[in-house]
Structures are given as C-alpha cells and as structure tokens.
Subunit: 193 residues, 2 copies
DNA sequence: GAATTTTTATGATATGAATCATAAACTAAC
DNA sequence: GTTAGTTTATGATTCATATCATAAAAATTC
C-alpha cells in the first residue's frame, strides 16, 4: 500500500465531504488522487443529464492518472460518494514516484490493464448485447468480489448507469431474471448464492 | 521504436498472412505481440456473430499485454487484416523488457492510458448517445490522425462495428450528417476539411 | 415516529434503430 | 472486359427499450 508511504513522506491529506465534486470534465489534469479512506465515483454525463458510471474507486485505490499521463482534459466528473480522505500528487511528484518505486510502477500497469479489461467487456456489452445480457454480465462481474450468501449493495439506478439502460428497464429485466431463476432476490436485493 | 531493438536481439519474426487469426477468446495468453509491419484488428463477437471493433493496431504498435499482465483469458479475436510481420515475446521476455527498458515501461503506461481514454469515450457514447452523436464522435476521433483534405479510409460497416450500430443505420445517418453539412462526402467517402 | 427523500414498481405509449428485402454502384479478380 | 464479391442505398416492418405518468414501499432525516 503506497498510501502509508505517502503519508510517511509528509504529503498532506485533503478531506472531501460526501457529494463534493473533485474534478469536472474539461479541466486540465493537475493531480493523481490516492484514496486513504472513502469512496469516489467517476461519471460522464451527456447533454440530457444522463449519467454513465465509468468507475468506482475505494480505499487504497487511486484515480486520475490516465488524463495526467496523456495530458488531456478530463472526460468525467469524479465525486466523493462518501466522506473521503485523499492525498494528491502533482505531475512531478507522481512521475517521481513512478520512477523511484518499481512496485508502484508495475502495480499501475496492472491496474490500467484491469480497467481496460472491464471497459472492453462493457463496450462489447453496450455495443452488441441487449438489456438482459448486459445485466447478467454486470451482476456476475459485481459478484466477483462478493462472498457467497451476501447481498449486492447496488441500486437499480446504479445498475442502469453502469449498463446504459434506464431504471425502469433494469427493474423489469431484473424481475424477469429472478423469475427465470438466474438471479436470486431477497427484499428486492440481489443475492449471491 | 522497440521493434528494431527486438530484432537486433535476435527475436524471430513471424509472418501472418491476411485474415489469419492470431488469437481467439478463451485462450490463455502466452505472448505480447509487436507489429514490425502490417495491421491487426481486435474484435469481440457476440452470439449472433455481430462484431465489435475493440481496436486496430498498426506498424510499430503492440497488443495483447493486458490479458498477459492480468493473466486472464482473451476476450477478443485478433486478426491480421493485412499480411503482417510480428515479433512475439513470452511472459518472461516481456517482463524482462519492462524491467530493463525504462523508456518502454513509460511508453506502455502512456499507451494503456490512451486506450483507456478511447474506451471511456466510447462507453459514454454507447451508453448515453444516439446514432448521430456516436457517429460524429467516432468520425472526429478518426480525423485526429488524418491530414486535412484527406479521405477517411473506413467503410460504413467498420463505422457500424466501432459504434455498435448496423450498416444500414450508419449509411442513413452519415447521409443525414452530410445533408446537415457537418460532414463532407466525396464519392461516398468522408472527407476531412 | 412523522415527514421527506429515495428506491422499486407497473402500465401505456412513443420512438430510434434493428431487421428484412431488394438492388444499384463500385472494386477486385480472372 | 466479363464475373464475382463488396459496399452503398432505400423502403417497409418489427421490436426492444425509452419515455411518461403515477404510486407503493422502503429508507433516511429531523
């Protein structure tokens, strides 16, 4: 965990309260953000205000590197969905870390690869598949880091915003999936069996 | 250019003739592929045979790293769309290169970031936007590395496979865009002005 | 624990794009 | 230069999902 190292080096910790916008589309990237605690949501928004969830970042994770690395303005909003403690590294600090810390360097490459995997999978879904298939795929994906017997803490709206569907569609299709027996519901929540 | 270095080191060059499949979904990744010459298309295919173009790779570029780095089976097909000369590095060779060659290391990070940027942009499009907007975005993107006055060497089918639309839709919508004056056509080809 | 907000639910209707069908215009191959 | 294969074109019809409307249920806030 690089965050402890950063704290030890004396980097200041910034607090972002729930629902604070950390950065917006169009801004020129200045920092990479390491999450000491909390949760951040990365979303793009279209002209009609429809949101698409590009990623969710939790304690121990970092975000904002790609824009900084390729020096292009942000495409997305990042918003703290919980009160969060964050350490910001500017460009030089980040490049220094990348150079000095071989472990961080290879972690970054793995992290970027993982994100690419997720985005490729979702592009295939949004490009080629209908509502039912998309939802099965995202549910299975979310199941990956969830122990069996646990409940998926995700709303229908969030599923909609990850799959490019509308809430109503998600509600109807999840119900169908439950009727078919491919997902298990308890009080409306999706259960991993 | 790393390819010349690889050649100098004596790595063998493999030839793939046009339309040869280099790897398929489900296979366990074994190599990273450096393109000495030629062109490779990376596509995912759904149950009905509908294709989605995940990426196009040309001379000097490389592909196949993410799957190898995260050790997950391929999601996509890669197919030589031209006769191609390719140098394959296996896992140990690739990790060695990454460790020994700082320049390659940071290039990889930049390349992964760029691909993420493209995929995030397209996810937003496929998730939130209709045919017309999707096509404007992809056309503008393809214009980026095309000199003004040149023609986009891309078929309607390829635009369809990059945007998750159908050929007929692309044909109709591109025609609309031309009528509106937002794209310029010469003999049906899209011209950058 | 009453009030407010968020989430789930369900029906009716509209609509953008897929699908199906058929053909002309180009390009490449022999 | 005729044949075969792509690519572009256009109309008719279908279909999945968005949109609109309205409300019950659940969760949060005060």
């Amino acid at each position: 965990m690089y965050i402890q190292q950063l704290i030890d080096k004396g980097y200041p910790i910034r607090n972002f309260t729930k629902d604070t916008v950390i950065y917006e589309p169009g801004l020129q990237p200045k920092f990479v953000f390491f999450i000491k605690s909390g949760e951040i949501r990365m979303v793009t928004v279209n002209g009609d205000g429809k949101e698409f969830i590009q990623g969710i970042f939790k304690t121990g994770q970092y975000f904002g590197e790609p824009a900084l690395l390729v020096n292009r303005p942000y495409l997305a909003y990042t918003i703290a969905t919980k009160n969060s403690e964050i350490i910001q590294l500017n460009k030089t600090e980040f490049f220094q870390l990348l150079k000095d810390n071989a472990e961080f360097n290879s972690d970054l490459i793995r992290v970027l690869s993982n994100r690419l995997f997720y985005k490729s999978m979702m592009l295939e879904e949004l490009g080629n598949e209908k509502a039912e298939h998309r939802l099965q795929t995202i549910i299975n994906f979310l199941f990956l880091d969830l122990p069996a017997g646990e409940i998926l803490k995700v709303t229908r709206q969030e599923l909609a915003d990850m799959t490019g569907l509308r809430v109503e569609t998600v509600i109807r299709v999840v119900k169908q999936l439950a009727k078919k027996g491919v997902v298990q519901l308890t009080h409306g929540r999706i259960l991993k069996i």
